[in-house]
Amino acid sequence: MDFELQHKRRKQLLTSLAMACVIVVFGCIVLPMLFEKLLLITVLALIIGALFSSNDTGRYICKRILLALLTVFIIALITFFAMNAIPGGPFSKEKAPSAAVQAVLEERFHLNEPLWKQFLLYLEGMMQGNFGISTKTGREIAVTIFSSFKISARIGGYAALSAVVLGLVLGSIAALNRGKVADRIIIFFTTLFVAVPSFIIATVLLLVFCLKLGWFNVFSTQNQSIVLPVIALMLSPMSYITRLTKTSMLDVLGQDYIRTARAKGVKERWVIFKHGLKNALIPVITYVGPMTAYILTGSMVIESVFNTGGLGTKFVQGITNRDYPMIMGTTIFLATLMVMMTLISDLVYKIVDPRINFD
């Protein structure tokens, strides 16, 4: 780089650092919560990193994290204002309380404040893990979310894990036996499973294995058999990963370094695992984000079918009951989770394969 340009850049960096220091000091005095102060400092550090980092990967990481934070903020914004656009308020029922009680309640839940201030208060509460109170059950939404998410996370985690493992194995088998019977069978079933909606898979499994064959009990909180929900949730992502692995494996096996490895006498098994599968894994990493999204939304349907009492069930119940704070809280929670998983998979992808340039 030109010396003059470098000098100019350093000057820019110094001025922006000074400005950032001023903003941080000012923000730390104004903002009451420690958490918010930390958030402010992080965001500023990320912006500086995105603008001035000399390292390409570092710049990308800063940008990507900023985009993720912005996305979460926009999701919260959309969710909050969309829910407030719904006609009808908390006191529009027939049994409206007296004016004095209303005033006290409005004071307590900040309903007398302007909408943007309510939004800021909601954001602040959200950061402290406070999503408000369900209008239907009267429980704290955060408590409901975290307790039911444990069940969902168990099912979703097993589903994701088995989808990745089975998908990689089946995809490699299909790629190594290209055009043979095994390949055809695998491709037939994966094409089929991609086309079948998860709720149909779930109901068919329920019908066949629970009701007709009686191998599994119908799910209840006492009997925690999660085999069927996991299978129902895993089939579609597994099929996708299988197809992805197959194409990337075929691509990798045609590369020169595989021929080199074979030529220098590396054992075939070693060639496939160390040189083939390791490189074929890279495209699969990008699918982790979409898979999380699929599993989280798919779990809404599948958990309702199997009635597992997880977060999906609670969300669908919230929709049926038109329990708006519950819908709002769950949406923001799930969306943040999805954005985070996409972020992680993108970052891992960039670190594993720095050849890719996202800009």
């Binding site: 969309a82 656009a85 086309a195 079948v196 909606p197 709720f199 109901t203 079918v305």
Partner: protein, 359 residues
């Protein structure tokens, strides 16, 4: 102009650069035949169609789709039942025609047949409100297909306009437009669809009464709105990428150098080259829209109550899954067939029309 004759051509002078004609010999018939046109030349479109019709899976899926489309158009004209009315016999409501299995007749109908009358058979049986199930499934398939087509049409129009503007304009305009796309793209789509459906359902619900749209129902409208708001980003990215890459191709440069006007370049070079990719991704958008519709219907955010869709039929069948499993099977098979056919047709189209996959 006189023809060139080697016999009367001037003799070659030593040291001249003139070609020595005597060293040439006449072409044989075989060599002349090499210049003949053996086959008539195919246009890109005809070549693609030929490839498409050679693909057995694509042909099979086209046949399946054709049969389904003919059925949903013709069946309501032939079958004397309606999707929202009870089975009637001579104007009297037949209360005994409840939850019948396929091709079964109720007591009253049996009586009529015994007396010599004719009753149109209930091909898929009847549901718990004494409605003919076949016609409900047919209407459900109709709704699902219409949603699929219109949603992809909306996506196509918005995405095409936005993407081509960004692609042509380039520079700062492109940068700003694509940052907006990036942000919308990173929102978790299914969650946002659910959220917006919940909200628009309530917001539109009251204002729609009495207008033309009330027959379609607020849920359907909100679903289209959601597709128009969120799903176009993928298409916009695709179109922009296509236009950018084609714009920088050598043949466009050559055309420019030869003095072609921008209109000719767009019509002759850019549009035909990105059309195939756009058509393929539109074809693949249809099954994903049908998927989303059935998913929303399944969690109770789909079409308005008497109007069936395949997803809502499957959801309704869940309640008596043990006793009447066929009620689940018909709509489920319907969704799977439609989605599978569109997927396979889209794959076939891609193989036939995507020039990059040409071998």
């Amino acid at each position: 102009m006189t023809q060139y004759n080697p016999d009367i051509a001037p003799k070659k002078n030593p040291l001249s650069l003139q070609i020595n004609v005597e060293k040439f010999e006449k072409a044989t018939e075989e060599e002349k035949a090499q210049n003949d046109i053996v086959r008539e030349s195919h246009t890109f479109f005809r070549d693609g169609m030929r490839k498409l019709f050679r693909n057995p899976l694509a042909v099979a899926s086209m046949i399946v789709l054709f049969v389904i489309i003919v059925t949903i158009i013709v069946a309501p004209l032939i079958v004397p039942y309606t999707y929202n009315g009870m089975v009637t016999i001579n104007g009297k409501r037949d209360r005994s025609a409840k939850n019948m299995s396929p091709f079964q007749y109720s007591q009253m109908e049996q009586q009529l047949i015994d007396e010599g009358g004719t009753v149109f058979p209930h091909i898929f049986g009847t549901d718990e409100l004494c409605r003919d199930y076949f016609i409900r499934v047919v209407y459900g398939a109709r709704v699902s297909l219409i949603v699929g087509f219109f949603a992809s049409l909306i996506v196509l129009i918005i995405g095409l306009l936005y993407g081509s503007i960004a692609g042509y304009a380039g520079g700062k305009t492109d940068l700003v437009m694509m940052r907006i796309v990036d942000i919308i793209y990173s929102l978790p789509d299914t969650l946002m669809v659910i959220l917006l459906s919940v909200v628009l359902d309530q917001v539109l619900g009251q204002s729609l009464n009495g207008t033309v749209f009330s027959t379609i129902g607020p849920n359907m409208l909100s679903m289209f709105a959601v597709f128009g708001l969120l799903y176009w980003v993928g298409m916009a990215r695709l179109v922009r990428g296509q236009i950018l890459s084609i714009k920088n191709n050598e043949y466009v440069l050559a055309a420019k150098a030869l003095g072609a006007k921008p209109r000719r370049i767009i019509r002759k070079h850019i549009l035909p080259n990105c059309m195939s990719v756009i058509i393929i991704s539109t074809a693949l958008q249809i099954p994903s829209a049908i998927f989303t519709e059935s998913f929303l219907s399944f969690i109770g955010l789909g079409v308005q109550a008497p109007m069936p869709s395949l997803g809502s039929l499957a959801n309704a069948a869940r309640q008596a899954l043990d006793v009447y499993p066929y009620k689940m099977i018909f709509p489920a098979v319907g969704i799977c067939l439609i989605v599978l056919s569109f997927n396979l047709l889209g794959d076939g189209l891609r193989d036939a029309f995507d020039p990059r996959l040409r071998k």
